[in-house]
Symmetry: C2
Subunit: 214 residues, 2 copies
């Protein structure tokens, strides 16, 4: 049986996005600095159609993460296109014709929409009946492989609070954002059920992996 | 001119003490687990009159921290003895006759009290006119050496918010406490003025040092 896991990059002061997210700064002001480590490594660059990139521990962690993912879940905000009903022309995600998921992707939304098939094996399914339903459908689609939670913070919080996450890997960067979206907020402290199973550190980021205690 | 610096150990979810602090658990429930790394290293053990302890990167960081401290500031809660007026018999701190500071220590309190001279060079001064006054007196007493902020979280927040901290080193342990006292709360985001100048990581803790940008 596959695991349900999520990974997210967090500033040392606890934020996974900066303040005042906008079209220009979808990750909030300063938020893109969170992901500098990821944009520097080969695996992430390849997955997003970019050349080059470093190998080493950060890249190893990124590569390990992508293994065995059979389906993906994400929030509407991460899929993008603004809040509210779907506009015209329809928003098809940030990622162009060939998104980097290559799996079925279940987008949590309040606004129903037909599935959207992209190139490279990514099909977006729009789920309007809640996080449990999205997880059940994703597990079904994953066929025994793992289900990855793409983000963002609010969705991660909801799944944590519901006790549904099997594993999480937090990438802590030594950046202080000061405000924005906190990961460990509105979780009822459910994160205490997780035990650290591995730490990999480089000068730019600490990758800390947790698993739910049995 | 000496710097004003503080160091504190924080759980990965942002807490520097656990929930429900009590006499039995002065660092809150689960809070003592934050400091397991410190109790394991030689420098910390020596400073607290204990034998043995590991050497290595965690010990090096602890030893470096203790260099060049000419005075210490701490909050009333860290000094202890409960809230409110000083009782009878007078509380003289958690640390016995020879506290591990070996410098003048300025205790922030609302309740005046005569200075308390201990063995080994530690004298506790009780400061009732606020954080700026305590810092001015500590700098004066330090004679050009550094002033260290002992804690706790609330006092660190006040000094951060006032923009008075020159340097801070956060020891992040891969522990999830779920609730308690957050370090980066009530700081008006003033931590964004700091830049990471060094990261030292071991499997049990990441030591991240920040300096205020010029």
């Amino acid at each position: 049986m596959g695991r349900f896991r999520f990974t997210i990059t967090m500033s040392l002061d606890g934020y996974v996005a900066g303040p005042n997210p906008s079209l220009e700064h979808p990750l909030g002001e300063g938020g893109e600095r969170l992901h500098e480590w990821a944009f520097a490594v080969r695996t992430f660059r390849q997955a997003h159609g970019m050349e080059g990139g470093a190998t080493g521990p950060d890249d190893d962690v990124a590569a390990e993460w992508l293994e065995d993912i059979g389906a993906t879940i994400m929030g509407r905000r991460m899929f993008g296109g603004g809040p509210g009903p779907w506009g015209n022309p329809l928003w098809n995600g940030w990622w162009g014709d060939d998104p980097p998921f290559h799996t079925p992707v279940f987008v949590l939304t309040h606004h129903a929409r037909e599935p959207l098939e992209m190139e490279g094996g990514t099909t977006f399914h729009f789920v309007t009946d809640g996080i449990e339903s999205a997880l059940a459908r994703a597990k079904d689609a994953a066929g025994g492989k793992d289900v990855a939670l793409g983000g963002g913070a609010e969705v991660a919080q909801q799944y944590l609070k519901a006790g549904l996450v099997d594993e999480m890997e937090i990438h802590v960067v030594p950046l202080l954002l000061g405000s924005g979206a906190r990961l460990f907020d509105n979780t009822d402290g459910r994160q205490t059920a997780y035990r650290c199973v591995r730490v990999v550190s480089s000068p730019s980021v600490s990758h800390v992996k947790y698993r739910r205690a049995a």
